[in-house]
C-alpha cells in the first residue's frame, strides 16, 4: 500500500490537484452567476436574487439542483454522437485551458515533495502556445452543437460563432506577440518575471504600459472569443433564441454554461498574467508592509460579515454567517502572525484579485454595452482589430531594436 503511494505519488498528487481545481472552478462558476446577476441588477437599479438565502447566496445551489433534475429530452433527427460530444468537448477544453495556468511561482513542500499551485508546473516551455492551442479548439464545441441540433437557429448560431472565433483568434494571437517579444519566451512564468525586471517600479513595470495597444486588442478579442457581450452573437437570445444551445437543456446546457464562465476565468487569468504582472504585487518590492494587505482586507470584511449575520432572524443568519465571519477574521489575524505563510499567500492573492477585477469588468460590460451587428462585428475584427495588433507587433519590435541599439540592453 505504502509502496503504491511512493511509486505513483506524482499521479496521485495530480489527481488530487485536478479534483481540487474542478471543485474550486465549479464553485467559483456558480457564484460567478450570482455575482453577475447581482451586479447587473444593481447596474439596472434592481435588487437581483435575494430570496434564497441572505443576499440570495443560495441561488446558485438552487440553479444547480434545477439543472440536475430537469428533464433532458433529445430532439428528433439529431446526430446523436456529435450532439452528445459537443458539450463535453466545450467543457473539457475550457477546463483544460484553466489547467494550464500557474497560480503561483514557488511550490509548497508537502510529504517531501514540491507541489505547485496549478496542475502543470509553471515553467512549461510552450505555456502560452499550449493555451492558445486549447482555446483554438474551443470553437468546435459551439460549432458542432449548432450543427448537430438539426435545427435552424442553432445552425445559424454555430456558423456565426465559428466565423467569429476564427476571425478574432487571429487578432488574439497577434496582440500577444508584443508581450512575447518583450519577454522573449512562451513560458508564462518567464513572462511574469520579465515584468518584474525593475522590482522597485512596482506596477509601472507591467506590460500593460508598453503594450497598451496590444492589451486593448487582446482584451476585446478575448471577449469575442468567449462569446460574451457585446460579442455574444452566437447566443443572441433576442435574435436566435439562445443560438447554438437552443436545443440543449438541463445538464448539457449547464456544461455549455460552465464552459463559458470557465473560459471567462481563463481569459481573465491570461489578461492579468500577460499584461498585469500576474502574481506580482502592484507595489514596489521595498514596501514590505504591503504584505499585510490581505489581512487588512480579510479582518474588516469578516467583522462586517458577523455584524451582517446578526440582522437575520433565521438559523442561517444566526449561525453560519457569523461563523464564516469569524473564520475570515481569524484567517487574517493568522496571516499577520505567520509571516512566511503570509509571504506565500501574496502571489495567489494578487493574481486572484486581478482575476476578480477582470471578471467584474466582464459583468460590467454585459450590464452596459449593446450587442454588435454581425457585419459590424466582422468589419471590426478584420478591418480594425487585426491591423491594430499587427501594427502593435511592428512598433514593439522596432522599439526593442532601438533599445538594443542605444542602451545595448538584453
Amino acid at each position: 500500500m505504502n509502496s503504491f503511494l511512493s511509486t505513483n505519488a506524482e499521479l496521485i498528487i495530480t489527481l488530487v490537484k485536478i479534483a481540487l481545481l474542478l471543485f474550486i472552478v465549479l464553485t467559483v462558476n456558480a457564484y460567478l452567476t450570482w455575482f453577475e446577476r447581482k451586479v447587473v441588477a444593481h447596474i439596472q437599479s434592481r435588487w437581483g436574487p435575494h430570496r434564497v438565502g441572505p443576499h440570495g447566496l443560495l441561488q446558485p445551489l438552487a440553479d444547480g439542483l434545477k439543472f440536475l433534475f430537469k428533464e433532458d429530452p433529445t430532439p428528433a433527427g439529431v446526430d446523436k454522437f456529435v450532439y452528445y460530444l459537443a458539450p463535453l468537448l466545450a467543457l473539457a477544453l475550457a477546463l483544460t485551458s484553466i489547467a494550464l495556468i500557474p497560480f503561483g511561482p514557488d511550490p509548497i513542500r508537502l510529504f517531501g515533495r514540491d507541489i505547485y499551485l496549478g496542475i502543470t508546473p509553471p515553467d512549461l516551455n510552450i505555456g502560452i502556445l499550449a493555451l492558445f492551442a486549447v482555446t483554438a479548439l474551443g470553437v468546435y464545441g459551439v460549432a458542432l452543437a449548432g450543427w448537430s441540433s438539426n435545427s435552424k437557429y442553432p445552425l445559424l448560431g454555430g456558423l456565426r460563432s465559428s466565423a467569429q472565433m476564427i476571425s478574432y483568434e487571429l487578432a488574439l494571437t497577434m496582440s500577444v506577440v508584443g508581450v512575447l517579444l518583450l519577454a522573449g519566451s512562451f513560458n508564462l512564468k518567464k513572462i511574469i518575471e520579465a515584468q518584474a525586471h525593475r522590482p522597485e517600479w512596482g506596477l509601472f513595470g507591467w506590460n500593460v504600459w508598453p503594450q497598451i495597444l496590444g492589451f486593448f486588442c487582446f482584451f476585446i478579442a478575448a471577449v469575442a472569443e468567449t462569446n460574451r457581450v457585446p460579442f455574444d452573437l452566437p447566443e443572441a437570445e433576442s435574435e436566435l433564441v439562445a443560438g447554438f444551445h437552443t436545443e440543449y437543456s438541463s445538464f448539457k446546457f449547464a456544461m455549455f454554461f460552465i464552459a463559458e464562465y470557465t473560459s471567462m476565468i481563463t481569459v481573465s487569468c491570461l489578461c492579468s498574467i500577460l499584461f498585469f504582472g500576474g502574481w506580482l504585487s502592484p507595489f514596489p518590492a521595498s514596501w514590505t508592509y504591503a504584505h499585510y494587505l490581505p489581512s487588512a482586507i480579510l479582518i474588516p470584511f469578516g467583522l462586517w460579515v458577523i455584524w451582517d449575520g446578526f440582522r437575520y432572524e433565521t438559523l442561517f443568519g444566526r449561525i453560519i454567517l457569523p461563523g464564516v465571519g469569524t473564520v475570515l477574521t481569524t484567517l487574517g489575524a493568522l496571516l499577520v502572525l505567520l509571516p512566511d505563510v503570509n509571504g506565500f499567500i501574496q502571489a495567489p492573492f494578487w493574481l486572484l484579485s486581478k482575476i476578480f477585477v477582470f471578471l467584474f469588468v466582464y459583468v460590467w460590460m454585459r450590464g452596459t454595452l449593446p450587442r454588435f451587428r454581425y457585419d459590424q462585428l466582422m468589419a471590426f475584427g478584420w478591418k480594425l482589430l487585426l491591423p491594430l495588433s499587427i501594427m502593435n507587433v511592428i512598433l514593439t519590435s522596432f522599439a526593442i531594436l532601438a533599445k538594443m541599439q542605444w542602451w545595448g540592453a538584453k
Partner: protein, 167 residues
C-alpha cells in the same frame, strides 16, 4: 516497453484509427472529426519527438483554423450523407491496386533510406523553438517571405472566389 514507446503506440493507434474512420465515415462532418483526431494525435507525436513548437502550431493552425474552416464549409453547404456512386471505372479495382503499389514503393524507398538514418541517428535534444526561429529568419528567410506572399495571394483568391457575382 518504455513509457515513451507506450505513448507512441497509443497515439499511433489513435492516428490510424482516425484515418481509417475518415475513410469509413459516411458523413463529411464525421470524417472531419476523425481527421481532427488524427491531427491531435500527430501533435502528441511531435511533442514526443521534442518538437513542441511544431506541435503547438499543428494544433493551432490545422486544428484551430483549417479544420474549423472545413467544418464551417460543411455546415454552410449543409452537406449531407455522401452518395455512393461509382461512375469512374478507373477508381475501382485498378485504383486499389495502384494505391497498394504506391504505398509499397513509398515504404520500400523510405525503408532503404532509413537504415542509413539509423546509422547516422543521433538523438540530441534540440532547442526547438529558438533554433527554428533562427533558421526561419536567417537561413530560410526568403522562402519565408515567399510564403507570406502565398498567403496574401490565397486570401485575395478566396475573396474573389467566394463573393457572389453581381448580376
Amino acid at each position: 516497453m518504455t513509457a515513451q514507446l507506450a505513448v507512441f503506440f497509443v497515439l499511433a493507434a489513435l492516428a490510424v484509427i482516425g484515418a481509417v474512420s475518415l475513410i469509413l465515415q459516411k458523413h463529411p462532418i464525421h470524417s472531419a472529426l476523425s481527421l481532427i483526431v488524427v491531427m491531435i494525435a500527430l501533435a502528441g507525436l511531435y511533442l514526443l519527438l521534442g518538437a513542441e513548437f511544431v506541435a503547438a502550431v499543428q494544433i493551432i493552425v490545422y486544428g484551430g483554423a483549417i479544420m474549423v474552416l472545413f467544418v464551417f464549409v460543411i455546415m454552410l453547404l449543409n452537406a449531407g450523407i455522401e452518395e455512393h456512386t461509382s461512375i469512374s471505372k478507373m477508381a475501382g479495382a485498378p485504383g486499389l491496386l495502384l494505391v497498394v503499389a504506391l504505398a509499397g514503393f513509398v515504404a520500400a524507398t523510405i525503408a532503404r533510406s532509413t537504415e542509413s538514418i539509423q546509422a547516422t541517428s543521433q538523438t540530441g535534444e534540440l532547442a526547438s523553438t529558438l533554433g527554428i526561429s533562427n533558421m526561419l529568419f536567417k537561413d530560410f528567410v526568403y522562402p519565408f517571405e515567399l510564403t507570406s506572399f502565398l498567403i496574401l495571394v490565397a486570401v485575395l483568391g478566396a475573396t474573389v472566389l467566394a463573393q457572389r457575382e453581381k448580376s
